[in-house]
């Protein structure tokens, strides 16, 4: 990872002639998209994003200017733009801050990896994806076979006039397979993905080939399957659907900037009120949820947020009771509530806001077989396909790619188009079983903010059993 020499110290000195505090976040990120479809190359696109976000504190108001001109004059000009626009708006600031929201920090973070992504050749990646594509070719009815990888290498350096200096280097990959089976007017798609902080070891040709064969077989199973039945029944969600359930109905409603109203015009508000912390029974006693940016290899692990706030594991919900929100130092100051280190930005050209990182549901005591054994009539659902929730994060409807009926404690036939709906707190209070083995999943595309930004999040969970949920299938 090569970088040009940039004199941030001089830029900060220039800024602090006019303002009491200044900071600069330099971001350097390469992203490579590699994709093959039906054994042919589809996408080979790479990008390099590099720039600096210059930040100033003027009359108790933080303001920002972003530039990709990292010369001495370019940084000076960006700071002058930040100072001018912040001075022009500070009289109408939403809250008076000070530099305690930008604590002095120093340290480093490096993603774990067995083999550097830099050491993984394009020919090796292409070969691996082509092999996966070919492994999905098990029937003429599998009409679309895609294998893709997004490979991200990031370095974020942060400096401030009160002595912060942090360096964080991330290596991330999102590898995904998709098989679409079609016949007549019916079609069904089955996918698999692996998303997290790891190196070139993710391109394991044997493992990808096994997963490719499985998703292709399951797409054919779905094509021939009946629709998921409708009714109130037990619901067993696997980790790759729990990810979405946690994200939408725990992560977003607990964001303090939503609770404070910053997101009302875009992503939405929250049903959670400030007085709920410490008292709201969010779910059953089996529900324990953490903010954990320290879990090794998970997609959104880091050591410091973008304000230099050191990141630690914190419990958000314990034994079903809401304890802590997802808000960094600015939101904590505004609300008077406890929070976490989650002031994060998507890139050099966006200001940080309260974001999720790794939000995980802690494992329980039951094996998957034991959870299945407790179901009289229900459906096991795997892999998110459809997601929608209201702007207060109450009424949701989620759909999965793959369903299996459960009858009298035994897994039954495959069903297609499985969906369920519910209301957040009622749903989590129906949690009656938590598996003992979790797995981590993630997405690079959690959207939020004005101006908008997508951020990487990770969610680890075991399988979870819910009692008495409204389940339904498709029309086709």
């Amino acid at each position: 990872m090569s970088r040009q020499r940039i004199d941030f110290e001089a830029a900060l000195q220039h800024a602090t002639r006019s303002v009491p505090w200044a900071g600069v976040r330099h971001s350097w990120e390469t992203t490579a998209h590699r994709a093959v479809r039906n054994d042919r190359p589809e996408t080979n696109a790479s990008s390099l994003e590099e720039g600096a976000m210059c930040e100033v504190l003027v009359d108790g108001h933080f303001g920002y200017a972003a530039t990709a001109d990292l010369s001495a004059s370019g940084l000076r000009r960006a700071f002058e733009r930040a100072i001018a626009s912040t001075r022009a708006t500070s009289a109408h600031k939403v809250h008076a801050f000070d530099d305690t929201q930008r604590p002095q920090a120093s340290g480093k973070f490096v993603s774990p990896r067995q083999r550097d992504l830099d050491q993984t050749g394009l020919d090796e990646i292409t070969d691996c994806l082509l092999a996966a594509s070919k492994a999905m070719q098990i029937s003429p009815r599998v009409v679309n076979r895609s294998a893709r990888a997004m490979i991200i290498q990031t370095r974020v350096d942060y400096f401030s006039s009160n002595g912060s200096e942090t360096q964080q280097q991330f290596q991330m990959a999102d590898v995904a397979l998709a098989a679409t089976a079609a016949h007549g007017l019916q079609s069904q798609t089955r996918t698999w993905s692996r998303t997290g902080q790891f190196g070139g070891e993710v391109f394991d040709r044997t493992h990808l080939g096994e997963q490719a064969g499985r998703v292709a077989r399951e797409s054919l199973d779905l094509l021939d399957a009946e629709n998921c039945p409708s009714g109130t029944m037990d619901l067993l969600l696997m980790p790759d659907q729990m990810m979405l359930q946690i994200h939408e109905s725990i992560g977003h409603p607990l964001e303090l900037d939503r609770i404070l109203g910053d997101e009302r015009n875009y992503a939405g508000w929250s049903f959670v009120q400030p007085a709920d912390f410490g008292s709201l029974r969010y779910g059953s006693e089996l529900m324990n949820v953490s903010f954990d940016p320290t879990r090794e290899g998970q997609f959104a692990s880091y050591a410091f947020d973008d304000a230099g706030y050191r990141a630690d594991k914190q419990m958000l919900i314990e034994a079903g009771v809401l304890k802590r929100g997802l808000g960094a130092l600015e939101s904590q100051r505004r609300s008077g509530l406890a929070g976490v280190a989650n002031f994060r930005s998507s890139s050099w050209n966006r200001a940080p806001i309260d974001r999720m990182a790794n939000i995980n549901l802690e494992p329980g005591a039951d094996s998957l077989d034991a959870l299945i054994g407790r179901v009289g009539r229900g459906v096991l659902m795997t892999t998110n396909r459809s997601w929608s929730i209201d702007d207060y994060r109450n009424k949701f409807q989620f759909g999965c790619e793959h369903g299996r009926l459960i009858q009298d404690g035994r897994l039954g036939r495959v069903v297609r188009n499985p969906n369920y709906r519910g209301v957040t707190v009622d749903f989590w209070n129906r949690l009656v079983g938590v598996g003992s083995d979790d797995s981590a999943h993630g997405t690079a595309f959690c959207g939020k903010g004005e101006p908008s930004q997508v951020i990487r999040v990770g969610h680890a969970s075991p399988p979870c059993l819910f009692r008495g949920v409204e389940v339904f299938g498709g029309q086709s």
Binding site: S46, D69, K93, S388, E450
Partner: protein, 448 residues
């Protein structure tokens, strides 16, 4: 530096970079270069106060290199300084060549052509940082306003080694906002190329006038089928789902299109429905990232039947279709839905008893094969009885097939359409927008 000078400086810069880069190409190499740049002031509001202000100057360039039947794309941010950007582009070209040597042949590659040249530059008058607070916050004094002001220059340009040369720059702004009465809100948007205090005041007063209706007792409705009027903003949200693969030729050929039944004439929509891609609205450039220029008007749905899918040059090559200037993602741009017969003054009377929906939220396919969509109601949505607004509703979840909502259940479209400018700001400010009328729909299905 003024916004106008940013645009002119970038034009000179892009010309110099492209001239140098394209001159470096070797025999058998073809290249396309795209520029996406902006100079934007973002000011975010909460409680009619400033939450964050961010001044962004960004220049992004992308290079597609084709040679020996192989294709590679490389992109990067530029500094705006000629010396370092020349060096950066040379490095980009070298990386493209190195990757090409390692890639397999691309049988769906489309040869580059000179698709012509165009030059459109729109100069506007947006608010400077020192003007924003007084202009936006002043008239909204006393309101609980949340939202985003974004203003400045947005540039898209395209060149290729065959001589093609397109330039589009526009200086514009939007103020996307909502005002609150407790948990209930009215959504508004003021956008244009020249900020006008008087127009903003009128826009805001129109929104404020709805607040008393939100103060009426909230109506709790049970799930069921209700006659519903989707105001133009809500109908634009529903029509927006057509951009999620429904009109993509590749999605249809790959078994992923929610409009497969429409494409294969197993289903049809209401004969009242005519949807076109209409660039005469002037909201976005007609050229795509390959420099191909779309027809000024391309019918997509005509009298309820599919008129055209969006076909990119790559899909055309792979499936033997005729390309129509679509982007590689094959999503519609500049969507224009034809108006109907329902006069605005008659909306409540014709609705009679049912739901008036201003906005929808968080739409997604719930059963793609049946084009079924789920979503929520949001902002100012009302229960109407006997043609009179009774009060706001608690938000409802709905789940309905487009074959029904835009088909047998579509009663009427309004005579007036509204332009919804694009307010997306992911990665960069979006260009474009849509124009939609309102839609009166029978027995719209609400589930939660």
């Amino acid at each position: 530096m003024s916004s106008h000078s940013f645009s002119e400086r970038l034009r000179t810069h892009f010309d110099a970079l492209c001239s140098d880069l394209l001159a470096q190409l070797r025999d058998g190499e073809e290249a396309t270069v795209n520029l996406e740049a902006e100079e934007t002031l973002f000011v975010r509001f909460n409680r009619n106060r400033v939450r964050q202000n961010t001044d962004v100057e960004q220049i992004g360039i992308s290079l597609r290199l084709q040679s020996q039947g192989r294709t590679v794309d490389q992109a990067r941010t530029l500094s705006g300084r000629l010396d370092s950007d020349h060096a950066a582009l040379h490095a980009l070209l070298a990386r493209c060549r190195a990757e090409l040597a390692m890639l397999p042949d691309d049988p769906n590659q489309v040869a580059m052509h000179d698709n012509g040249s165009s030059d459109e530059a729109f100069i506007g008058k947006v608010l400077a940082a020192e003007e924003v607070v007084a202009a936006v916050v002043g008239p909204a004094e006393g309101c609980d306003l949340a939202g985003l002001y974004a203003g400045g220059v947005v540039i898209r340009a395209n060149r290729n080694s065959k001589g093609q040369n397109h330039w589009f720059s526009t200086e514009n702004f939007f103020l996307d906002y909502s005002i609150y009465n407790g948990p209930q809100a009215v959504k508004g948007n003021y956008a244009g190329s020249h900020w006008d205090d008087a127009q903003w005041a009128v826009n805001l007063e129109r929104s404020k006038a709805l607040l008393p209706l939100l103060a009426r007792p909230t109506q709790a409705l049970k799930p069921g089928a209700y006659r519903s009027y989707l105001a133009p903003t809500a109908f634009a949200d529903l029509i927006g789902m057509l951009g999620w693969g429904a009109l993509s030729a590749a999605a249809w050929k790959q078994g992923r299109s929610p409009f497969k039944k429409l494409a294969e004439k197993e289903e049809r929509l209401s004969s009242q429905l005519c949807i076109a891609q209409n660039f005469s609205m002037g909201l976005s450039p007609r050229f795509n990232s390959q420099g191909e220029v779309s027809a000024l008007r391309l019918p997509l749905i005509q009298d309820g039947e599919l008129a055209n899918l969006l076909v990119s040059a790559r899909s055309a090559k792979e499936y033997g279709l005729l390309a129509n200037g679509a982007t590689e993602g094959e999503s519609p741009r500049a969507v224009d839905v034809a108006t109907g017969t329902l006069a605005p003054a008659d909306v409540l009377k014709e609705l009679g008893t049912g739901l008036y929906l201003s906005n929808l939220h968080y739409l997604n396919w719930s059963d793609p094969v049946c084009a079924r969509v789920t979503g929520m109601t949001r902002y100012a949505c009302f229960w109407v009885q006997g043609g009179e607004i009774v009060g706001p509703i608690n938000d409802l979840r709905w789940d309905e097939s487009l074959y029904s909502a835009l088909g047998s259940k579509l009663i009427a479209l309004s005579t007036c359409a509204q332009i919804q400018p694009a307010v997306d700001t992911y990665f960069q400010r979006a260009l474009g927008g849509s124009r939609t009328p309102g839609a009166l729909i029978d027995a719209f299905t609400f589930t939660l």
